[in-house]
């Protein structure tokens, strides 16, 4: 079995002279929550549309579990687009039955699966309501159910929380985690970094159609950390601020940020500090994904 669920090989897509996806090479590991990040217009949606076979790539290949991507894989993919809507005049139940059957379920299975979800969300009374009688948040939940009802092995969510209130966001987030625990690989496209930080284990950063960074979140944070430590202390820090290898930035009477220059070890910094102050807390500051994102996009844009 392949370690990667999806292998993207030099995929390129052009629209009227602009290159939306430019020779992207990317492996999406199985069983993880994968964040596809990038500023607006970076090519995230174009790439997803190629993955879901809505559009075809101009060049390159995609493999799904080692096989070239084909129409049979549609059953294994659940996609919730950013631009999502429903037929306003259809009833909730009838609508979900329709979408579930379009995704390949027979009537009976569709009904059973929908019943499970309805029970889980406790929304039985929605069944005979027309879509336009439901609130926007309720419609999002309907969208979510329609995306996952056929139990695909790959789930793609494009900005899944836009327009959701905190309670529903939490609910959907929890369900996405559950689905991931049950074995689904989740691809998450967004430019909301705090959400990525919260749920993604693996990320890829695209900008101007190019892949500029990808990897495990922990590894990336280690790679781009700046050897900074947040220190809570008591005493007079005046003696510490002049050290040539340790740069100290004071925030208040009891908090500072210490940065190690050169190849000094963190223990040496700690020893240096304890010699002068009483230390209450010593924590490594890792860069946020937001910092990495901004830095890389900025550098890439300048090139």
């Amino acid at each position: 079995m392949n370690k990667s669920l999806i292998e993207i090989r030099r995929v390129t897509k052009r629209y009227n002279g602009t290159t939306a996806v430019n020779a992207v090479d990317l492996d999406i590991p199985r069983g993880l929550i994968f964040g596809l990040l990038g500023p607006n217009g970076a090519g995230k949606t174009s790439l997803i549309r190629i993955l879901t076979r809505i559009t075809a790539a101009d060049e390159g290949e995609i493999f799904f579990e080692g096989e070239p991507l084909n129409s049979l894989h549609a059953m294994n993919i659940g996609y919730m687009p950013e631009e999502r809507g429903l037929y306003k005049k259809m009833k909730f139940g009838e609508h979900l039955m329709y979408l579930a059957q379009l995704r390949g379920l027979d009537r009976k299975t569709a009904r059973d699966r929908l019943d499970e979800w309805i029970q889980r969300f406790d929304i039985r009374h929605w069944w005979n309501k027309k879509i336009d009688e439901l609130s926007k948040g309720m419609q999002q939940i309907a969208q979510f159910i329609a995306t996952v009802v056929h139990r695909p092995s790959m789930l793609i969510f494009d900005e899944p929380f836009s327009g959701l209130d905190p309670i529903n966001s939490q609910l959907i987030k929890q369900e996405i985690r559950n689905l991931n625990k049950d074995g689904a690989t989740v691809i998450f496209s967004t430019h909301r970094m705090e959400q990525v930080e919260e749920i993604c284990q693996f990320i890829a950063l695209v900008n101007q159609g190019q892949l500029i960074l990808n990897g495990d979140v922990k590894t990336l944070k280690q790679r781009y950390k700046k050897n900074q430590y947040r220190v809570l202390y008591e005493g007079n820090p005046a003696n510490c601020t002049q050290h040539s290898d340790f740069q100290i930035e004071l925030h208040s009477d009891e908090e500072m940020t210490a940065t190690i220059r050169g190849d000094r070890r963190p223990n040496e910094l700690l020893n240096f500090l304890t010699g002068n102050l009483e230390i209450h807390s010593f924590t490594e500051v890792l860069p946020s994904l937001n910092d990495i994102f901004i830095e890389h996009v900025r550098n890439h844009n300048q090139k």
């Binding site: 559009t55 979408l99 379009l102």
Partner: protein
């Protein structure tokens, strides 16, 4: 295939279950049935104009008789006082016909006074009656016996016979004309209504953003075919129901009518009622099964062709506001076909009628205007063949535009861009 069936089902059922569909299906034919009744009621309630006649010649008494359309009252009064009476509204007459003492050889000086002008129809009747009475007097004066005079009067309706391959039969031109017009008209309306229904369906899917959800599990061409087929079935359902209602009501009215005509022919001259009777008899001779079959074939062809084009332009726009300008080039040929159809029923075998019943864009409507007059089978076959080719081409082209258009949001594309989408390889 299973998905296509699902799409067709949804497109069909959501529309057929709508209250507006049920209402239109039942109410429209009832409305059409009621219109003639209402017209008749209004017509019969209008008063027959009463004309006062001052006859100084003595030739018109007992000769000028009231009809359904005009009523005559002889006034034994001077013209001046009659005129004065009319002005004050005492006489209750619409106008005064003044006939001076006349010399039969040189009749002149007959005058008609009124405050409002007589309708064209009434004027004709009045003229005809006066001429008839004067002619009668002249003939009798010339020494003709009254017997001979009655014998000389004739009234011979003409029976026109149409020669066809299957033999001769009495011409049902009058009926053919009516049937042709109605069928062409219904075809025109049907293509427009259901074509626009497809267009709005696509615009709806695009503007409520369900398109991307759908095309991640079905192919755009499946979606396009499913929608067109589903709505086409909606159209057929509606048309079949209308045809049934029409057939039943036609049967009932012709039954009632022939009964009432054979019973009482008082109100009409025998010649007129004779014509009506043959006309009604001829309705039975019209080949309705053939017509219906032809209608369905041409409806399907024409509908698919235009529905595909409407779907294509709809897929290219972002909201219903932009649709006007892009759909116009699709609507114009439909309207053009309707205009040609009106010409074709007057000259069903002329060159315009022939060519326009071959061109796929106009043939469904124009052919409907020709079929009731009899069209050679090879023309029908050729027309159907060309229509099939036209519709296949339109669907192919539409699928190309549709596939690209449905995922394009942003500015309204130009026709040049649409053309590029057609040529685009994948």
């Amino acid at each position: 295939m299973r998905k296509l069936v699902l799409i067709i089902q949804r497109e069909y059922l959501t529309r057929v279950k709508k209250k507006s569909f049920i209402f239109a299906t039942i109410a429209v034919p009832l409305g059409f049935l009621l219109i003639p009744v209402i017209v008749m009621l209004i017509a019969s309630s209008s008063l027959v104009p009463v004309i006062g006649v001052i006859d100084r010649s003595g030739l018109f008494v007992h000769q000028l008789k009231s009809t359904d359309d005009l009523s005559f009252v002889f006034i034994d009064d001077s013209l001046d006082s009659a005129k004065a009476g009319m002005l004050t509204g005492e006489g209750a007459v619409e106008g005064i016909l003044y006939i001076p003492p006349v010399d039969l050889d040189r009749v002149k000086g007959i005058q008609y006074y009124s405050m409002k002008s007589l309708s064209l129809q009434s004027q004709k009747i009045l003229q005809r009656e006066i001429d008839r009475i004067l002619e009668n007097h002249k003939l009798l004066k010339s020494g003709l016996s009254e017997d001979l005079f009655k014998k000389l009067k004739s009234s011979a309706p003409i029976e026109t016979i149409m020669m066809t391959e299957s033999g001769e039969r009495s011409d049902s031109k009058f009926i053919a004309y009516g049937v042709a017009y109605i069928m062409g008209m219904v075809m025109y309306i049907a293509i427009l209504i259901y074509g626009v229904m497809v267009m709005n369906g696509v615009v709806e899917e695009k503007s409520n953003r369900i398109m991307e959800v759908l095309v991640s599990s079905v192919r755009p061409t499946e979606l396009l075919f499913g929608k067109i087929t589903g709505i086409g079935l909606v159209g057929l359902t509606q048309l079949v129901i209308w045809a049934l209602i029409a057939a039943v009501s036609l049967g009932v009215t012709s039954g009632l009518a022939s009964e009432s005509f054979s019973g009482t022919t008082t109100s009409m001259s025998s010649q007129e009622s004779e014509q009506m009777l043959t006309a009604l008899k001829n309705i039975g001779e019209v080949d309705f099964t053939g017509l219906l079959l032809g209608f369905i074939v041409f409806f399907l062809g024409g509908y698919f062709l235009y529905a595909a084009l409407y779907a294509a332009v709809a897929s290219a726009v972002n909201d219903s506001g932009d649709i006007q300008s892009l759909s116009l080039p699709v609507t114009i040929p439909v309207i053009f076909a309707f205009i040609v159809m009106n010409v074709a029923i007057n000259d069903p075998h002329g060159p315009l009628a022939f060519w326009c019943s071959m061109i796929p864009f106009t043939s469904p409507i124009v052919m409907m205007g020709r079929i009731p007059f009899g069209v050679p089978w090879w023309e029908l076959a050729l027309s159907v063949l060309l229509l099939a080719a036209g519709f296949a081409g339109a669907v192919w082209m539409a699928a190309k535009i549709y596939r690209t258009g449905i995922l394009m949001y942003g500015k309204k594309p130009s026709f040049r861009e649409l053309f590029r989408w057609i040529l685009h390889r994948n």
